[in-house]
């Protein structure tokens, strides 16, 4: 029941994108998201969609798998679209009961839908092709300059990778405890809100206890291996830019240049 969440999941396969330096992917995703909000016309969106399409093709992740994660955010998308559609003032198009659709509203609703869809797919391409560990490594290295102003970059990165690592473990644990309590006649699905909240107690208490136990064990195991924080720590596989990473940077910049010129200036 909890295994359907695919956002932030990693999809194991061999592709150029999987081998790429996480910093390129992080930076690229960030630039891509920014570009989506700079583009103002539909030709620009077509270019953005095409670029994403090529990237997806390169990633070798089945499109079906990518879309599966979209299901969970469809509600959010619908709400945004509806708000834009009905609440934007401007030239009247149709009026249904008390709701008015305006030309501007229609325009912004459609472009919002496109933007959000591309944004979500775009960022899921990154998480699907990068292991959580790689991702935090990349972040750590990118944020290293912040160390000058006393930001505990290494500690934050370590906490993030531990947190990410624990998501599947805790999901599995939840599933197990849920089943065990259902086997004892617990009912998580019926009743009013209060009853359901109460029904969560037999799930949450054991879950918290197990999370604390695991955290304690992990801390002990890290100490036993002499973990002392980030100072003087070296990596087994340090991140190093390769030829393909530079090529990727050039591609992203080219896309940005073309996308933004077409999307903002032309037409």
């Amino acid at each position: 029941m909890l295994r359907d969440i695919t956002i932030g999941q990693y999809y194991q396969t061999e592709s150029v994108l999987h081998k790429m330096d996480p910093r390129v992917k992080l930076g690229g995703t960030l630039l891509y998201i920014i570009s989506l909000f700079l583009i103002k016309n539909f030709v620009g969106y077509i270019i953005a969609a095409l670029f994403l399409g090529i990237v997806i093709k390169l990633s070798k992740v089945p499109f079906k798998f990518m879309i599966k994660g979209m299901k969970t955010i469809i509600l959010l998308l619908m709400i945004t679209v509806l708000f834009n559609l009905f609440l934007t003032p401007g030239e009247e198009l149709v009026t249904v009961w008390k709701l008015t659709i305006t030309v501007e509203g229609l325009r912004s609703a459609v472009s919002m839908a496109i933007r959000l869809t591309l944004l979500i797919i775009g960022s899921s391409v990154m998480t699907l092709t990068t292991t959580p560990n790689n991702l935090t490594d990349g972040m750590e290295k990118m944020m290293r300059p912040l160390k000058v102003i006393k930001v505990p970059v290494h500690e934050v990165a370590m906490m993030m990778s531990i947190a990410l690592r624990f998501i599947p473990i805790l999901l599995e644990e939840t599933d197990k405890i849920m089943k065990a309590q259902i086997a004892r006649g617990a009912d998580f699905e019926s009743g009013n809100l209060l009853k359901r909240a109460k029904a969560m107690v037999p799930l949450l208490v054991p879950l918290f206890i197990s999370a604390f136990r695991r955290a304690n064990d992990l801390a002990m195991a890290m100490e036993a291996r002499c973990y002392r924080g980030g100072d003087g720590r070296t990596k087994m596989k340090p991140l190093c830019y390769q030829k393909r990473d530079y090529i990727a940077y050039i591609c992203i910049l080219l896309y940005l240049a073309v996308g933004i010129t077409v999307g903002r200036i032309l037409f």
Binding site: Y11, K176, A180, I182, V201, P202, P206
Partner: protein
Amino acid sequence: MSLILDHVNYVYGDDTPLAVKALDDICLTIPDGQFIGIIGHTGSGKSTLMQHLNGLLKASDGSIYFNGEDIYDKDYDMKKLRSKVGLVFQYPEHQLFEVDVFTDVCFGPKNLGLDQREVELRAYDALRKVGLPDELFYQSPFDLSGGQKRRVAIAGVLAMKPEVLILDEPTAGLDPRGRDEILGQIKKLQTETGMTILLVSHSMEDVAEYVDRIIVMNKGKVMYDDEPKKVFRHYKELEEVGLAAPQVTYIMHALKEKGLNVDVDATTIEEATRQIYKALTE
């Protein structure tokens, strides 16, 4: 009054690249009152099989009948099934949550909608059955030792008065004495109440002494399904799939090879002692 599995199949992660066939065409009949050991290596599908028996997992294909009724029928009462087929998961002490032992054991029968008196009676009865001393009844479950916690968790399922009790590795992580105590208590429970018991384990040694029948699982299939003695005759094949017959079996076979006239079907140490004594005095 029995459990029947008819061509049950189950696939994990259907239509993903990681699909795994966990159960492959399982056909089994589990009559009343039998003490059965389900043995298999890690990932052989034994835990998956067990979760089908009380409807926690739904077979991808095939049907399961409990007391003659199809449990996948639309109007079948799953909650009733779960009270009749009690399931004790691996490390069941991880599911304890209440402030004291007694209240925790009450959780199961309370969910059945019984009145307070009956609930408390059942909880008391269940705790006595697993042999937990009275003075621990009102302690926090988290203050107990590992073995005691496990008894409390088993009592939590027993208090629902199931007709079939399934235990997934009830001895995992216990010391030899704790293991013998728990297994002994389960055997006693079975002879006293005539309950059907399924004991899931990866260790032949554990179950050989107690069960009437052994089902060996391998790669989602039933490999052997017979009395312990007959299953252990295949000790060479068992080894190939990462299992082992009890040590006694090996010793008896070795003795036989060396020319001592013993019965190789002895599975427990007592039986073996008798056999060897007999062979030597002949």
